[in-house]
Amino acid sequence: MKFVAVRLVQLVVVLLAATFFTYSLTFITNSPDDVVNTLLQIEAGAPERRAAIEEDLNLSDPLLVRYGKWLGSALTGDLGRSYSTQEPVADRIQTRLPRTLALVLYAQILALGLAIPAGILAAWRADSWFDRGLSSSSIGMLAIPNYVLAVLLVYFFALRLGWFPSITASDLKVTDFKSFLLPAASLALGQVAVYMRLLRTDMIATLQEDYIGMAKAKGLTTRSILFRHALRPSSLSLVTTIGINAGAALGGTVIIETIFGMPGMGTMLVDAIFRRDILVVQGVVAVIAAGFVIINFLIDLLYAVLDPRIRSVRSAA
């Protein structure tokens, strides 16, 4: 329990640090006046708006206070208004977030769907042609940047074969699997290599354990032994890595969304940065950081589910 609490604190600190850092970034290089001028320019608004903008940004208060006020309203769900579109930031995020989450989710599903069987098979037949071939190709898989892969996939599957769209619709629905496939695949390949090798290493170790020999001596089928006996204990490091990855993947979606023109958080962020739309940037950063916290916390819970020994340790602690 204590361990979990410490982790939570750590992650909340991350949240605060990230949002504060982004918030202050803009004001470090530009004086408040500059900021207002810039925003006015973007808005192409009348000088009277100046006062309104200043009021909005609470520019008269010191930095920390301003941040505090932003944080306060953020916690109630009000992330301010976008300067370029005048929409509430929270609304925009609400529309776009599901798509980004879907992308990350599909990518992980694809990656695991390939990596788990491959890893198990490689461990079961360690040092076979299959295993060695897989090891060699995983070096290659890790060397392709996901954006290069995206371009390749677009070329072959979208342009040449026409099976999938190269650009997604602007009202992309989460269930539009066809549109999500190439983007998810681009993100997934590098992960496949990492996951597969992790699982393989752990499985090889697990398969040496006595209880696997015992399961064999019970006369159980290979499939049963591999999937029901060996997989669970071997999946611990895999699960942790998925957690770390999923959190980091939120950033990777930025590029992929841009390449495929997907209307998600990533494109919104890039857009907002170019347009100096501070509050949007803030909102997105906050959501991403919050996502981190939640995902990491869930991973900890999943750990306990997978390994009942940890449950006892936790409750004893």
Binding site: Q10, S135, L142, Y155, G190, A193, V254
Partner: protein, 318 residues
């Protein structure tokens, strides 16, 4: 860049989701059939990679002096269309008729320059921080480590975007230039590099020659300089190969977002991106720079990994 860099081999290998990978974690099978340790022989892959890297390095460094490489900005007026590979143009030409091969070479100059700059800056700053944390330990270490952990936890690309956008804007447009790009990437590399250096320093601080030096009355500064530093540098130098690969990828990612160095400078990432509109008709414009980038990353990763496993063995023997 936490998630871009692989953690020290002893730790879990962190995923690469963000800017598209380049973490090696490659683990060629450790023993051959007859039980001999493969680690002792460098193998075909190693030398192939080395040859490739030498070629790339030579071409990019000597580019201005090489006759067959067109300087940037030379237009081939005779043929302003994209054409595939031919005898005259090994990689073909781009939309403007420029020789693609030359473009890739010059692009490499910039990409590699950025990568080296980031690595050097990152190591100086991150390395220093890491060494201090690992050597002095105690409260200093706890504070530094806590900060590093927080920094590592956040998606690097987003921070990079934010930084570049902020520091490279004049008025309402964002025009990144070389120093800004290098700066942003360097800042992001500090945390992971500090973490690695700290680990290595920790391992070495325990060793007897440090204690010996101390009993001879050496000051901390002297120990750091004369005992620790010379031992930290080799593994870090090996590790820097991996870092270079990561930075090349990261810069490419920025280029795709339009946030890398501005024209007329070109990088591999930019070249790949520029070729995208023509992908259907003239795929070679994208494929060649992509291929060169891929092979370079592959070579760097492979060599880095092979060398790294040799170093880890020695440490493990401690």
């Amino acid at each position: 860049m936490s998630d871009l860099l692989p953690e020290h081999r002893e730790d879990r290998t962190v995923g690469l989701a963000e800017t598209g990978g380049a973490s090696p974690a490659a683990d060629a099978p450790e023993t051959t059939d007859d039980g001999r340790s493969k680690k002792r022989r460098l193998g075909v892959g190693f030398w192939l990679s080395a040859v490739w890297l030498v070629i790339v390095a030579a071409l990019t460094m000597l580019a201005p002096y090489l006759g067959f490489v067109d300087k940037p900005g030379t237009f081939s007026i005779a043929n302003p269309t994209a054409a595939g590979p031919s005898g005259a143009h090994w990689f073909g030409t781009n939309k403007n008729g420029d020789d693609l091969f030359s473009q890739v070479v010059y692009g490499g100059r910039v990409s590699l320059f950025i990568a080296f700059a980031v690595v050097i800056l990152g190591f100086i700053s991150g390395g220093l921080v890491g060494m201090i944390a690992g050597f002095f330990r105690g409260r200093i270490d706890r504070v530094i480590s806590a900060i590093i952990d927080v920094l590592l936890a956040f998606p690097a690309l987003v921070l990079a975007l934010a930084m570049i956008a902020v520091f490279a804007s004049d008025g309402s447009t964002v025009r990144p230039n070389m120093p800004v790009v290098i700066g942003a990437l360097s800042i992001l590399s500090v945390a992971p590099l500090a973490r690695i250096t700290r680990g290595i320093t920790l391992a070495f601080s325990e060793r007897e020659f440090v204690t010996a030096a101390r009993t001879l009355g050496a000051t901390n500064g002297r120990i750091l300089r004369k005992e620790i530093l010379p031992n930290v540098i080799p593994p870090m130098a090996v590790f820097s190969l991996t870092v270079i690969a990561v930075v090349i990828v990261a810069e490419g990612a920025l280029a795709f977002l339009g946030l890398s160095v501005s024209a007329p400078a070109s990088t591999w990432g930019k070249l790949i991106n520029v070729g995208r509109p023509e992908l259907e008709n003239a795929p070679h414009i994208t494929f060649f720079p992509a291929g060169v980038m891929f092979l370079t990353i592959l070579a760097l990763n492979y060599i880095g990994d092979v060398l790294q496993s040799k170093f880890t063995v020695r440490e493990g023997a401690l």
